[in-house]
């Protein structure tokens, strides 16, 4: 379904390796299953030929990897960035998290990535093979002989259905055509929850958050969560503890995490993508983004390097915290 082909990416990687522009390539490689894709550092043409992968499952946002991959790496790394990844890329540069000079960023177009959970829901478990066939996926499971045909469009990740931008905000070089910023409906679901009664909202979130197993996948995938030491791992922070010995952190984990990335979250959707319990964590982040937009003016984290996040900024005539509710009650 992707407009750019694996060969085009391989050719670009090969030539940049060959001419010495870069010494390594951060790309996707095969995982255990067909839908399972793992980030990998490639340094040779042979490795690329054998293991490089580009398909509808390459959702992973490489921006975060640059923090750990560049810090002690001599030379330049080629990274492929989808439009949404470029926002995280910029945000991390704003926060001085990696050295821009060590990265050669190639922007690539993206037609949306597939949500494995949705795919499994459509075909059942036990997927053994996935083939791409135009805009469809041909999915074979261990229980059926004939592959099932699933239109990609039906199993897109939520973040891709509500894609906010096909435009790259950072790159050294662009492959394919540049897209536009999209006026997406990404805040609609937040608005729906806002319109509920407090009891309904509480029930909704109790239902969602009760599934959390505290695996920390959301944090580990989040490009805004690049702290040298996470507060949840720090015994002195008062919120540390992985096991549910201290109920505080268990319950507050998601609020604290969302608050910590508020104003810095680019709404890349990695948290929801990686959640094994399918908790719509992006809604918490989007709530903050929506509020910030409404209270302090439109702000897109990562749209430009060096921008000042709204929560480390102020004006003298900002809204009072109490007025937040007055406004909403007036709207209602």
């Amino acid at each position: 379904m992707q407009t750019i082909t694996k060969q085009q990416l391989l050719d670009k990687a090969d030539s940049l390796l060959a001419n010495g522009t870069v010494t390594a390539v951060l790309g996707w490689s095969k995982g255990e299953f067909g839908y399972d894709v793992t980030p990998k550092m490639f340094t040779t043409k042979e490795d690329l030929e054998q293991n490089f992968v580009w398909n509808d499952f390459c959702g992973v946002n490489f921006s975060k990897y640059l923090v750990s991959k560049t810090d002690r790496f001599e030379g330049k790394i080629l990274v492929f960035l989808k439009p949404c990844d470029t926002y995280s890329f910029n945000q991390l540069l704003t926060e001085h998290r990696f050295d821009r000079e060590k990265v050669y960023a190639v922007g690539i177009p993206c037609e949306g990535m597939v949500d494995v959970s949705k795919l499994k829901a459509a075909t059942g478990d036990g997927i053994s093979e996935i083939k791409e066939d135009g805009d469809n996926l041909l999915v074979t499971t261990i229980y059926e002989d004939e592959p099932a045909t699933v239109p990609c469009r039906d199993v897109l990740l939520e973040r891709c259905i509500n894609c906010k931008s096909k435009k790259h905000v950072a790159y050294d070089e662009l492959l394919g055509d540049e897209g536009e910023i999209i006026d997406s409906a990404r805040f609609d679901e937040v608005a729906q929850i806002e319109a509920m009664t407090p009891d309904e909202r509480f029930a909704f979130w109790q239902n969602e958050l009760s599934r959390c197993i505290r695996c920390n996948a959301c944090r580990d995938a989040c490009p805004a969560c690049t702290c040298e030491k996470c507060v949840f791992d720090n015994p002195n922070s008062g919120v540390e503890n992985k096991a549910p010995a201290n109920s505080f952190e268990e319950k507050m984990f998601h609020i604290i995490r969302a608050y910590h990335v508020a104003g810095r979250c680019t709404d890349c959707g990695e948290c929801s993508r990686v959640c094994p319990q399918n908790i719509p964590l992006h809604l918490l982040n989007r709530k903050f983004i929506k509020d910030i937009n409404e209270f302090y003016g439109e702000y897109q984290a990562g749209a430009e390097v060096g921008s000042r996040a709204p929560l480390v900024d102020y004006t003298t005539d900002d809204l009072e915290p109490g007025e937040v509710f007055d406004r909403r009650d007036m709207d209602a």
Binding site: E200, L209, D318
Partner: protein, 144 residues
């Protein structure tokens, strides 16, 4: 009609320069307010980390109020402006999660406003008492 016997627990974060002094003035003038209010002194309202507020709720507080200098009068010139943004965002989020918005408040109380301090605390305690015990934040994760 059943009388609500629950005595609420209120944590009040007060900045050293204005609101804590305002609370002292309320004391000097013997202006009563419920003993349910327990004050924690911070240098500036901008020292209040959302984690402190959540911690208080988790440990059984029924309401949390943050008091600082009036906007424009911050001892540190801009601290309360950050507080204003941080708390607007946090309280809106708590409301989004279905936690009663009446349990949180930000109030600007100057060192001269002893009467306002006492009135604010009386009002806030009354408001929180009406809500009863705070169960929601503790139970957020536990589906019953």
């Amino acid at each position: 009609m059943q009388v609500n016997e629950h005595k609420p627990l209120i944590v009040a974060f007060c900045c050293n320069w204005c609101s804590y002094a305002g609370a002292d003035l309320a004391g000097n003038n013997r202006l009563n307010y419920p003993a349910d209010v327990k004050i924690i002194r911070v240098p500036c309202s901008c020292r209040v980390n959302p984690m402190f507020i959540l911690r208080a709720f988790q440990r059984g507080a029924d309401g949390v109020i943050i008091c600082g200098c009036h906007p424009g009068d911050c001892h540190y010139t801009s601290g309360n402006y950050y507080t204003r943004r941080r708390m607007a965002a946090l309280f809106s989020m708590l409301d989004f999660l279905g936690i009663e918005k009446e349990r949180t408040r930000v109030e600007w109380v100057s060192a001269a406003e002893g009467a306002k301090f006492a009135a604010t605390m009386n009002d806030f305690v009354e408001q929180v008492t009406a809500l009863g015990e705070n169960k929601r934040l503790e139970d957020l994760r536990c589906k019953r």
